[in-house]
Symmetry: C2
Subunit: 231 residues, 2 copies
DNA sequence: TGTACATCAGTGAACGCGCGTTCACTGATGTAC
DNA sequence: TGTACATCAGTGAACGCGCGTTCACTGATGTAC
């Protein structure tokens, strides 16, 4: 009878676990004090190990930062995909408009629950850090989820696209195989930016003194975007 | 005959000049390496003085940061107000739609010309820094300029406001004396957030690999917003 | 106008802190015979 | 199954850096008589 973890040495298990603990400690630090406060030394301190030991797991601070960015994108992506999903269980067969609204609200809810992680993804770029290729796939989950809601249902009115923009949209449509007409893709991209603009303004304090509770404004704007998209 | 700078001692003049030079050095640092890189020591170094000397002018790093934020808001505010101005000279009497488009483009142009200063205003909040009252007035110049373009001309269609949102909008309208109906105020607020969402996405790299040149998308979205505002 | 005193600007050294990263090392885990 | 060697994890000290801020001080500018 092979052992329960066949092919998995104790070392491998320990390595996986400690790697996860390091990432978790890093996440806690970012959540508590923001991306700038992330430090390998603080992580090591929290885990009760020598700061040099962390280098067995992450060659560099930026490597840990990348892991955290991926994790944050995935957290946001999970939330939005779940909200956008037509679903198979109860709540299945929701209209595209309902799914759109739920997806946008999921963005806002996640951002409010994880403001520092939101800043990590959509705030100022961390100085000296260049996002590697690994962050791309997790990073496009939200826009793809929004596109999926709109696919086949959206009809966009308004100004026709100028040729350059149409060409860009075509190229995106081809490479990402999103299967959506250019005008719709453009409308979704703009709506996507709008949603994050609203959330960023709320989180970063631009609505302070005017729309202190930004919920109603957000809901109104999201409904407006849904109209615009013909949902 | 009184001297040209009556009531102004050499000391006062020197103080004003050096204060300005410190701010300028700080601005250069933010422009070069971002808000996080701002340091009083680096400023002192650039000016060839002892780091302790800077404390005669700014009691604290945050005080200098505040001055830089105000300066940046004013730079952006100048650009947008100029673009939004109906004007008295040539180009006077431009339509509200033209002024709207010009104002939005001014936001984007300024942001692209001053990415790090843009991040200072609209990126992640600087950790541990609480914006004091002094930044409020410069900070609202852009939204007020956008409102001024729309005042009297906008007619907003779309979903009616829910009561909570309407009440919020009324209160803002009253305290800021903007003289614009609630539905218009809300539409402008949402449009304002959209514009900054687009600019932030462009600057912070969210459009990388799709709309690498974000100009056409921006222009399209701004036209769309103008439609929405009835301009 | 000239002098005595008060105010202010700028210096240089220091305090205490935290960071990323490297390096030679000990000791434990895994592997091949 | 038992032993010999190789691999890997973790340690502790160190390097070199930069930061904000304070403090006692010198010397220049301003002010009151």
């Amino acid at each position: 009878v092979p052992p329960p973890n066949a092919g998995t040495t104790a070392r491998e298990r320990a390595r996986r676990e400690l790697t996860a603990e390091i990432v978790a400690a890093g996440r806690r630090q970012v959540a508590a004090s923001g991306p700038a406060a992330l430090s390998l030394r603080a992580v090591a301190r929290e885990l009760g190990m020598a700061s040099s030991a962390v280098y067995r797991y992450f060659a560099t601070r930026d490597e840990l930062l990348t892991a955290l960015i991926v994790e944050a994108y995935d957290g946001l992506g999970d939330a939005v995909e779940a909200a956008a999903d037509p679903g198979a269980g109860p709540g299945a067969g929701r209209s595209a408009r309902e799914r759109w609204t739920a997806a946008c609200s999921a963005v806002r809810d996640w951002a409010r629950a994880h403001p520092h992680e939101y800043a990590l993804l959509h705030g100022s770029p961390v100085p000296g850090y260049a996002a590697p290729q690994d962050t791309v796939a997790p990073g496009v989950r939200v826009p793809l989820a929004l596109l999926a809601v709109v696919r086949g249902r959206a009809s966009v009115s308004g100004t026709p696209l100028d040729p350059v923009l149409e060409a860009q949209a075509h190229q995106v449509s081809d490479t990402a195989a999103v299967g959506v007409p250019p005008a719709v893709l453009v409308a979704v991209a703009a709506a996507w930016a709008s949603v994050f603009g609203l959330v960023s303004f709320e989180l970063f304090g631009q609505f302070r003194g005017s729309f202190d509770d930004a919920g109603p404004l957000f809901a109104h704007a999201v409904a407006d975007l849904a109209d615009r998209l013909g949902l």
